[in-house]
Symmetry: C2
Subunit: 222 residues, 2 copies
DNA sequence: TCCCTGTTGGACTAATTGGTTAGTTTGATA
DNA sequence: TATCAAACTAACCAATTAGTCCAACAGGGA
């Protein structure tokens, strides 16, 4: 039609469809998402969607992969090498939280995928191999901190990663119900800010706490 | 039919329907849940469901209220009075985590409700007034701990509650994707156990950490 | 016996759904 | 300028969905 520069641009069109699909899936989840809504958002005929993609599930998996890729990229991007362990850890915490704040699609995609018990991830080969690097970074920071005597010994990196994520993730993913319950607009920028500081405080307190005599909860080395 | 003791028991039947609905909603979320599946689970005719309930959404809200009630009851049940603040806090942490472990339906219901941006909670008057008591308990424990010099000062109870919940919730709600990513069966009892200890350790470390000189992240009193 | 309440059955609809078919437009090229 | 594959569309389809209607029936108390 009387459309702009890029008419009949296959790649661009596919990108449009993917963007529309991400918006739709990230707003309504898998079951709530409507293929018709996606084509409407993308301003494309329905058949074109089926021309480029196998169908709803295929599209969903593509989006899931994109989302994981974003997550991994932004988490690993941390300029962490060279920093002292404390700063590196703070940076890593802030970065993890920031991803969730700035890419809210991630949260609903992950929730949706867990609702389906990670059925789709299994079908994607690339996602599973993504997290090794992140775990390695974390392990390295912990090792250095331990060596320099600023961090406690025997911290499980996986457990710690889950804690860092969880402290931010839950706040954001459940912000609507929590805001109602506690009558506080958790989405407001100043509260987000505040939560980030709290998160960092919590993690660093945990890591820098020296073992107490007669510790009530001796954590296994692994 | 050749069915058990309580034939023609209206209340029991409604209870059966509610139980079936909870199972269905907690397995598939709101959009994934099928009314037909609910009546099949409840072994009841479809008419009967519409006889007792307005429809799918009505049923969903009822389940949501039940779930919140469970949550509130089990969290407030903590025999916390009389304990010293440290023990009380540990108890509260464990209890919060235990609810999520033992009532996994809660997690998906909350996730679903947040996917819908708490649209249904707004329609329920009773839920919103539930959490005052919990917040009060938490505030009291903090006050005592502060008074006795074992806890740091100026901790925001809401922020802390969100952290306690988040540390457990994220682990459980995202266990399927996380298990794949880290190749560790997070649902296994020994790992659950381990996480609980980690959670407590983290919270107590945070609370009992004395303020450092030149603190890197001074937390606002509120 | 009669009737009230709890209950079933099945056929039905109106809307929506994911997906398909059959065809038209476009731009590069030979 | 005739051709052809790729980009694109409109209309349709078959299945599924939540929700309804209506006629019937079973058990227990009056």
């Amino acid at each position: 039609m009387a459309e702009k520069p890029a008419v009949r641009d296959a790649i661009r069109t596919q990108e449009k469809i993917l963007a529309a699909a991400q918006a739709e899936f990230a707003r309504r989840g898998y079951d709530g998402a409507r293929v018709d809504a996606i084509v409407a958002r993308a301003k494309v005929s329905k058949n074109l969607l089926y021309h480029y993609f196998r169908g709803k599930e295929d599209l969903y998996i593509r989006i899931l992969e994109r989302v994981y890729e974003t997550l991994r990229r932004r988490q690993s991007d941390v300029a962490v090498n060279g920093l002292d362990p404390l700063d590196a850890m703070i940076r890593l915490c802030e970065n993890t939280f920031r991803v969730f704040v700035e890419e809210p699609d991630v949260i609903i995609m992950l929730n949706t995928e867990n609702l389906h018990r990670a059925r789709h991830i299994g079908k994607s080969t690339i996602i599973r191999s993504m997290y090794d690097r992140l775990a390695e970074t974390l392990r390295e920071i912990l090792r250095q901190g331990e060596e320099q005597g600023v961090f406690r010994k025997g911290v499980d990196p996986v457990e710690l990663y889950i804690s860092i994520s969880g402290l931010g993730y839950f706040y954001l993913s459940n912000q609507y119900t929590l805001s109602m319950l506690f009558n506080r607009k958790l989405g407001a920028p100043e509260h987000i800010e505040h939560r980030q500081a709290h998160l960092v405080d919590m993690v660093i307190s945990y890591l820098t706490r020296e073992p107490q005599p007669g510790d009530w909860t001796p954590e296994l080395a692994r």
